[in-house]
């Protein structure tokens, strides 16, 4: 079999002839950035063939490369097939890098009311006069210590096997751990001596891209550590659909294992840093989208991606850690947030819980934007929700120089309307490599205000300026000249990129409008707009309103929820009463299927304009744009 050597790390792997370089890279453990799932569409898995023979149709994929890159052996790893031994250079930007992840949360207070308890017991040894069984003796002790009555406590076999030795070896001085489970209680551990202080729990935000874990002391409620890492399923496809498709070809067990592995790794890192034994973690609360939680629970989600999009289960789920491969206390409880539909999952329920929007009669609009968006509108009386595809543009996909929020991504941009010269900042102040979502929104708003683009997003190529040029395929605006960029190219934004961005924003705004119409309210009825997810923290809210990503409200009415999914999971971990609220929220939500809403396309077309076809819906933006126009026309 041919050997593929990856530079600069010299990782070597053997693969069968005809395998793609991408599968070799995955075998070598390289985290390759594959947005499209490896079908030659995104152009992100760029590598350079240094020696050896491979097969790659460089004419077909020439749009992704400069002539110089092609000359240097550039290829797309997913579309390059190994013939002989070869050496391949992997540029840094081809690999998934450490990402800026939001981990701080709102300062909500919750009661410490977890669903696990530890009882320290000094039991009387059995005698001929008092010959009751070891288990009854233990559970009687629990009841005497204030715990539930023994009949309601289930004791699993593996613990029964431990009871005789642990009790006797400790001189009947033990700690029993009891958890509240559906339908009763469960004995989940028995230890020698007093271990009441060692009781920990984890709250997990299981995202398609990233996983965030909060490790908490369940006796004090304190946060002991927060870690996040990539969802390792990314190597099986970037977006959720490509993962389900991967799963349908027999890959679900692997996806399940990768999800569990990713959570385990994050928990382990947090536990190590805090000096906690992962065996002392008794409870894990997980909020994730519906497909993610199905996969983690080992439930086939394939039917959910086809009409009529029915999930296998909506209600909150409980199981024990060992059954889904989580490496905490094997009998530890796992609580999975309920879902509403295929696309409104536990993460959104967690967002709603965290926002507190169901606790008041004021109407709130909550938006979670990623490749897909979820929009929730409501108050304590009613809630409507919908979900749709925004496309990857707002996360940097389908944009020529788009990238994730990694070091080197241009995240903030302003453009001088008189000189058309940009000012920008990058993440970590590294040399600019590309543009991430927040930067793209800035560019769109600033180009609009500078009248470089019209409300359709067309670049006015009649403006005589070196930064505005026809471009090889589409007109473009040069944001960073090659000399100042961290890559050997001018970083530009093309009219096509702008078109993709407008489609993404139009879809999001149209979804908001559809919900507002269903509820019979207008933008002035909205008290607060919440941005859930990391996106909201980084974007310029003024610019998001200028381009019409969200309905116009005053800027101080827009709030960042931050990582609402993690926040909600934390609340449910600390206070079991919140879990009851979750099912109530989930049941109250009226899910609006946008595909079945005829007015959605009309609203979409109306929204595919900057900021919107009906300018009267954006009065403040309009006044500002008029000022800009006057300034540009009469500088």
């Amino acid at each position: 079999m041919p050997t593929v050597t990856f530079l600069p790390g010299f990782q070597k792997v053997e693969v069968p002839k005809g395998d793609s370089i991408l599968s070799a890279a995955r075998k070598a453990g390289l985290p390759v950035n594959v947005v499209c799932g490896g079908i030659g569409k995104c152009g992100k898995c760029v590598m350079f063939l240094k020696s050896g023979r491979t097969e790659f149709d460089n004419q077909r994929y020439e749009e992704f490369f400069t002539a110089e890159e092609l000359h240097n052996g550039a290829c797309l790893a997913c579309r390059t097939y190994v013939i002989d031994d070869c050496q391949v250079f992997v540029p840094e930007q081809t690999l998934i890098q450490s990402q800026q992840i939001l981990i701080d949360t709102l300062g909500h207070t919750v009661d410490l009311n977890p669903s696990v308890w530890k009882y320290h017991l000094q039991l009387k040894p059995p005698t001929l006069d008092n010959p009751i069984s070891d288990l009854d003796r233990l559970l009687d002790g629990v009841h005497d210590a204030g715990g539930p009555v023994d009949k309601r406590i289930y004791a699993p076999l593996e613990l029964l096997r431990r009871i005789p030795s642990v009790t006797r070896e400790s001189g009947w001085n033990v700690t029993a751990t009891i958890a509240l489970v559906p339908g009763g209680y469960r004995l989940i551990h028995i230890e020698k001596g007093d271990t009441r202080k060692k009781m920990y729990g984890a709250a997990v935000d299981l995202g398609t891209t990233t996983i965030v874990v909060f490790l908490r002391d369940l006796t004090t409620g304190q946060v002991l550590g927060v870690t996040s890492n990539y969802n390792r399923q990314i190597s099986c496809g970037e977006d959720i659909l490509s993962r389900v498709n991967y799963g349908k070809l027999g890959g679900f067990p692997k996806l399940q294992a990768l999800a569990a592995e990713s959570i385990n790794a994050a928990i382990q890192t947090a536990a190590n840093a805090a000096g906690v034994d992962i065996d002392d973690i008794y409870e894990v609360v997980i909020a994730g989208n519906t497909i993610m939680t199905h996969i983690l629970m080992g439930i086939d989600p394939s039917y959910m991606i086809h009409e009529p999009y029915v999930p296998v289960v909506r209600r909150a789920l409980s199981t024990s850690a060992s059954r889904i491969g989580l490496s905490v206390r094997p009998n530890g409880g796992i609580f999975i947030f309920p879902a509403v539909s295929d696309f409104i999952g536990g993460d959104i329920i967690a967002d709603i819980l965290a926002s507190g929007m169901t606790g008041s009669s004021d109407i709130s609009l909550m938006i979670d934007i990623g490749t897909n968006y979820e929009v929730v509108l409501g108050n304590n009386d009613w809630i409507f929700a919908c979900a749709g595809a925004a496309g990857p543009a707002l996360e940097g996909g389908e944009v020529l120089f788009g990238m994730r929020a990694n070091p080197g991504a241009i995240e903030k941009v302003s453009i001088d309307p008189a000189t058309l010269e940009p000012t920008f900042s990058t993440i970590n102040n590294s040399n600019p490599l590309g543009i991430c979502g927040s930067g793209l929104i800035d560019i769109l708003a600033e180009l609009l205000k500078a009248c470089v683009i019209d409300r359709n997003g067309r670049i006015n190529t009649a403006i005589p300026h070196p930064r505005i040029r026809p471009g090889p395929y589409y007109p473009e605006y040069v944001l960073v000249w090659k000399e100042k960029a961290g890559i050997n190219k001018d970083i530009v934004i093309t009219e096509n990129d702008i078109k993709n961005l407008i489609m993404s924003k139009a879809s999001t705004l149209a979804a908001c409008t559809v919900l507002m119409n269903v509820a019979g309210i207008t933008r002035t009825d909205i008290k607060t707009i919440y941005f859930a997810g990391g996106f909201g923290n980084y974007i310029n809210k003024d610019h998001a309103t200028t381009i019409g990503l969200i309905p116009e409200v005053s800027i101080d009415q827009i709030k960042n929820l931050g990582n609402g999914a993690a926040e909600g999971a934390n609340m449910a971990l600390l206070d079991r009463k919140k879990r009851k609220l979750l099912n109530e929220i989930a049941e109250k939500i009226g899910y609006i299927e946008l595909n079945a809403t005829p007015s959605f396309m009309d609203e979409y077309t109306r929204s595919a304009f900057l900021p919107h076809t009906d300018l009267s819906l954006f009065p403040t933006v309009e006044r500002a744009l008029q000022q800009c126009r006057i300034r540009v026309v009469n500088p």
Binding site: D454, R455, N456, N460, T605, T613
Partner: protein, 316 residues
């Protein structure tokens, strides 16, 4: 029966003047004020009759076969064609379609000026010009048209959402009217009008072309879009309060005509029926290509507006 339907509309359609007489600084024998409507067509029989435009071109290569077959003999150039049209068919205006600019790499801009001048000399009717549809040549073509027709208040087409700047610039520089065409969608129509206004075109210089699908092949979408545009305007949406133009050229290439034993008659019926339907939906200008359509369409429109039903019969 004569009764007035009550309504509470506040808006009205902009008036747009096309063509310029000697007093108005041009050389046309007549100019027209279109628009001004305050309700739906026929609702209270208050609307103006639509204008009929006869369309000619400067290169018949892409002209529908059925129209080419019906062309009278002896027409060798757009000027003589325009003169024939005015004299024989008596339309209200002539539309000159510069089909020569649709050829790949067309660059004979001098002949465009000459063609426009010759047609203006050959007819005294207001002139509508359909120019190029290629950003590479648009600017040059529209400047030539605008320049050649300076003072004549031409109607210049067509501005579309992805290429409107050239035609807008020419219309502004030489004081012409502009046609704004969008693909059968009320929102896109509104968007293009906003874009045009932002280039500096006043609202009373814009005519909306909602795009006319052929009857039986999507015309119902056109009809409902025209209705929505008119309703929006009457309800006070200034961005849509412009008169509409309808050019049912797609009607001349439908399968029923191609497969017919008597294509010319079918073509006339189809084009006329589509145009009449557009008129009922509120079009202010109807553009037809088949020479046989103009007179029966006139009869039909007159009958509709004057209520004399007996004149409406096929081929009258």
């Amino acid at each position: 029966m004569n009764y007035i339907l009550p309504h509470t509309w506040s808006g009205s359609i902009q008036t747009v003047t096309i063509g310029a007489t000697k007093q108005e600084g041009g050389t046309r024998s007549v100019s027209y004020e279109i628009g001004g409507d305050t309700d739906l067509p026929f609702m209270n029989r208050s609307g103006k009759k639509p204008l009929l435009a006869y369309e000619i071109c400067d290169d018949t290569a892409i002209w529908p076969q059925v129209v080419r077959d019906a062309m009278p003999k002896g027409i060798s150039d757009p000027a003589s064609w325009a003169a024939y049209g005015e004299k024989t068919l008596k339309p209200d205006c002539i539309r000159l379609n510069l089909t020569s600019t649709r050829k790949p790499n067309s660059s004979d801009f001098a002949s465009i000026s000459a063609t426009v001048q010759s047609v203006l000399a050959a007819t005294t009717l207001p002139l509508i010009i359909e120019g190029s549809a290629d950003p590479a040549v648009d600017s040059e073509v529209y400047i030539r048209c605008g320049e050649a027709g300076q003072g004549e208040r031409l109607v210049l087409g067509t501005a579309e959402a992805d290429r409107y700047r050239s035609v807008a610039a020419a219309a502004m520089a030489y004081d012409h009217i502009i046609i704004a065409q969008t693909p059968i969608d009320v929102n896109l129509a509104k968007q293009l009008n906003i874009l045009l206004r932002e280039t500096g075109i006043p609202d009373n210089r814009i005519i909306i072309d909602p795009y006319t699908g052929a009857l039986g092949y999507g015309f119902e979408y056109t009809y409902s879009t025209m209705e929505r545009i008119r309703f929006a305007a009457l309800k006070g949406d200034d961005d849509l309060a412009m008169p509409m133009i309808s050019a049912p050229a797609d009607s001349l290439t439908v399968k029923e005509i191609r497969e017919s034993d008597s294509p010319s008659e079918i073509a006339v019926s189809w084009e006329r029926a589509t145009a009449v339907a557009s008129a009922i939906a509120g079009a202010a200008i109807l553009v037809v290509r088949h020479p046989g359509t103009v007179l029966p369409l006139r009869t039909a429109i007159d009958a509709l507006w004057e209520g004399s039903r007996r004149e409406v019969s096929d081929g009258a």
